[in-house]
């Protein structure tokens, strides 16, 4: 028995050592999540516009083009529970925040990060934002969520560069840069596949997400923060393949939210003809040019919103 246990320990020790070593090093490499968490921890009181949401805002809203001090705290596939988490985590420091910008895409009200193929991203919130939504190790480790080749490459690169390698793909203000220098994808094929991916078989996440969004808006209201909701632009290859029922449920619920809260403004850019093919990276994501266009439009809309100006936005703007 003792011989067996001894051999098992002997066999497992190098594996455990290797696992802990890779995990430790992987966590030291700066990435978008650790960067944004650090930025928010240090600069939350200076932020006047906070952008949350998924890849549609990560690649679609460039804070450089807002008149006010803005920061993009969105991440790819970030669902409403993590939007809410980030807002709640830093809300006591958002002393100057005036507007919260949140995309309501076709899928937003019906999805959670944990349910899709992107669930490997959950660990980023656990590790880098200290989010306690999950206790399972599956959601708390790099090694169980990153492809071995990829994590191996990152660790070797980091060690080779004496800890100088960074894995940050965002601008100083949190805007996703990857799409700005990439070639345009097939706009037809990506439209069809994205619409299929975003169409949910069950809309059972709706109630929970509505509760979250209402809480987010109510908390914002208490802090005198306005909420700008928008549906991002997309190309016809995407729009034509959407499920009309899911789209209609989304639109009805957004209308109800707008009616319910006085601090909310909503605008849909889904079929906005100001956005042309050249503004897109793929059928439902803007590129750098499109992001600049969308941000400037939203900026103008925020500044021109008379009721909001009356409620003090103009004073804060100066």
């Amino acid at each position: 028995m003792s011989q067996f246990v001894r051999k098992i320990i002997l066999f497992a020790l190098p594996i455990l050592f290797f696992v802990f070593f890779v995990e430790y090093i992987a966590r030291q490499i700066p990435n978008d999540y650790s960067y944004k968490n650090e930025y928010l921890s240090k600069n939350a009181e200076n932020i006047e516009i906070l952008v949350l949401g998924s890849s549609h805002s990560f690649y679609g809203i460039n804070p450089d083009h807002f008149t006010l001090n803005a920061f993009n705290a969105s991440h790819v596939s970030q669902s409403l529970n993590y939007d809410y988490f980030i807002f709640e985590k830093f809300k006591n420091n958002f002393s100057n925040m005036k507007v919260l910008v949140l995309p309501i895409s076709y899928f937003t009200l019906f999805s959670r990060l944990e349910d899709g193929i992107e669930d490997w991203r959950v660990k980023n919130y656990s590790i880098y934002y200290a989010c306690e939504y999950h206790s399972s190790l599956k959601y708390k480790t790099e090694i169980l969520n990153t492809k071995p080749m990829e994590i191996g490459k990152q660790v070797v690169k980091y060690l080779w560069s004496n800890g100088k390698t960074k894995n940050i793909t965002v601008s100083k203000l949190g805007f996703g840069l990857n799409f700005s220098n990439q070639e345009q994808s097939d706009l037809i094929a990506t439209g069809i596949s994205a619409a299929k991916r975003h169409t949910k078989k069950k809309l059972n996440k709706l109630d929970g997400n509505l509760e979250l969004i209402n809480k987010l808006i109510t908390d914002s209201s208490k802090m005198d923060i306005k909420v700008f909701l928008f549906t991002p632009p997309a190309l016809s290859s995407y729009i034509e393949n959407l499920n009309t029922q899911q789209l209609s449920v989304m639109q009805t619920n957004i209308s109800n939210i707008v009616k319910k809260h006085s601090n909310v403004e909503y605008h849909s850019f889904l079929q906005d003809d100001r956005f042309v093919k050249g503004d897109f990276k793929d059928a439902d994501h803007l590129n750098g040019i499109g992001a600049k266009k969308l941000t400037k439009i939203i900026d103008r809309m925020i500044n021109n919103k008379k009721e909001w100006v009356a409620m003090g936005l103009s004073n804060k703007n100066t």
Binding site: M1, Q3, F4, I8, F11, P14, K138, P148
Partner: protein, 478 residues
């Protein structure tokens, strides 16, 4: 709790230490196994525990009753209670919606429309098909006086819920497993270390073979209309290895884990894809289920005795029931019926026991005839797997027609070289180890420790490097 999860990696060593810490105290060890098994099972959904506890209680008291009476009528009633409760659970949780829906369709089809069926839409308790069959084997064997009824309630409950094989088998016979709970378990180094090797091989099959094949099989089956015949054939091959890696991997982990605790479970797979005919395949695939049906359904029906029609009837019954056991869908029934059709000629020509030995015994490679036999058997099995995997029978038929289209000889649109190479290496390893219980077993030649340890580390590295996305074990849904 999944075998391929972090939770289990913590659960197992903790339980192992506690279990052997109380070595020699059988009742304490059994109680510990019982608590651990309920904890393991309750990890999915604690509400399911009431079902397994109730099922165990019924069979325990049925057993006590059978031990007390020699009255034939009373004994039959007691057995009937056990069968009704266990099959009733299965019928309610697994088949209620299926029957309700099909009655509705049948009446509508016959021009007698009835009101919309009431569907329960309840979650199927994990492993219900496995433990109900296991506990039924106890009642039937006690009724047949093959087994003395137990009075040890802890041992009996631990037998029904024994965590390594609780949710996906092997479906153990009470005659084999229950007596092991009465005996003093002694730690055996060779058993335990071979158990560890078997677990490692099971993890490889599940994480590397099954989970990787699942990615491509799922994609091809979901979009079968868009793919060429050659891709569809490849999709069926991926599924064949997915289900084999998944299920036999689970069995290996279950058997290996049991050996760590001093228990020996029956073998469930014996390299089935090296079978030379379908009869041999069924002697090598899901052995615990095939033998269960043989002993408790086929033989009581008359087996292969009687006239031709009786044989035909019994073969169809056993295969169709076996198919239906897998799930409440016509696809499983079609899968069972197809296997019966494959099996029948061998049975009628009395050639079903031609290949009872191991293929190419004492030779490195099979001869041409054997290769052709393996290929043919694998191919017809593949066609049957299409029914097993498809959502509907019509989809399966369309898929098969898709395979046999002009594009069968075109270059497949999907051709993941890495996975195909892994499957090839996997087949090769299994081929050279086909005389063993599992592919990592070294019994005859004692290889140097450095060679063995290097091999184990290689397997661990391959699991880490090439592991697919974690998927639930397929057989959990049954």
């Amino acid at each position: 709790m999944l075998f391929n999860s972090i939770e289990f990696a913590i659960f197992l060593p903790v339980l192992f230490c506690l279990y052997w810490f109380v070595a020699g105290k059988i009742r304490v060890q059994n109680a510990l196994l019982l608590i651990a098994s309920y904890f393991f099972y309750g990890w999915w959904d604690w509400r399911f525990l009431s079902l397994i506890a109730f099922s165990s209680s019924v069979d325990y008291f049925v057993g006590i009753g059978l031990g007390k009476t020699n009255n034939k009528a009373k004994r039959k009633i007691l057995l009937l209670i056990s069968i009704l409760v266990n099959i009733g659970f299965l019928a309610f949780f697994k088949y209620f919606d299926f029957f309700a829906e099909n009655f509705y369709k049948a009446f509508t089809f016959l021009g007698q429309p009835i009101s919309d069926p009431i569907l329960l839409n309840i979650i199927l308790p994990v492993g219900i098909s496995f433990y109900t069959f296991q506990t039924l084997s106890y009642s039937i064997d006690t009724y047949r006086r093959k087994l003395e009824p137990t009075k040890d309630i802890i041992a009996f409950f631990a037998f029904v819920s024994f965590f390594p094989q609780l949710v996906a088998g092997p479906i153990e016979r009470a005659t084999n497993l229950l007596p092991q709970f009465y005996k003093n378990r002694v730690f055996k180094y060779d058993e335990a270390s071979d158990g560890m090797r078997q677990i490692l091989w099971g993890l490889f099959k599940k994480i590397v073979i099954a989970d990787n094949c699942a990615i491509y099989a799922n994609d091809i089956f979901s979009n079968y209309g868009n793919y060429s015949g050659s891709t569809l054939l490849l999709g069926a091959i991926f599924f064949a290895f997915q289900i084999y890696g998944d299920f036999s991997g689970y069995s290996d982990i279950a058997i290996g884990t049991s050996r760590l605790f001093g228990f020996n479970l029956m073998r469930n797979f014996a390299f089935p894809y090296f079978s030379r005919d379908i009869a041999e395949f069924w002697r090598r695939w899901h052995i615990s289920l095939s033998t269960w049906f043989r002993d408790y359904v086929y033989i009581p029906l008359g087996g292969s005795r009687g006239g031709t029609w009786m044989k035909v009837r019994n073969i169809f019954i056993i295969f169709i029931v076996s198919g239906f056991w897998h799930g409440a869908n016509w696809t499983f029934i079609a899968w069972g019926a197809l296997n019966a059709i494959y099996f029948l000629p061998l049975m009628l020509l009395k050639k079903n026991r031609m290949n009872t030995d191991m293929i190419a015994e004492g030779r490195l490679l099979p001869n041409l005839k054997e290769t052709a036999q393996i290929g043919t058997t694998f191919f017809i099995t593949l066609i049957a797997w299409v029914f097993f995997r498809a959502e509907t029978v019509s989809q399966a038929v369309a898929y098969i027609f898709g395979i046999f289209s002009d594009s069968l000889f075109s270059i497949p649109e999907v051709f993941p070289k890495k996975i195909i190479l892994l499957i090839f290496l996997f087949i090769l390893t299994e081929w050279f180890q086909r005389n063993k219980q599992h592919a990592l077993q070294f019994v005859e030649i004692k290889y140097p420790a450095i060679f063995r340890w290097s091999l184990y580390y290689c397997v661990v590295i391959v699991i880490w490097m090439f592991g697919g996305n974690q998927q639930e074990f397929i057989y959990f849904q049954f």
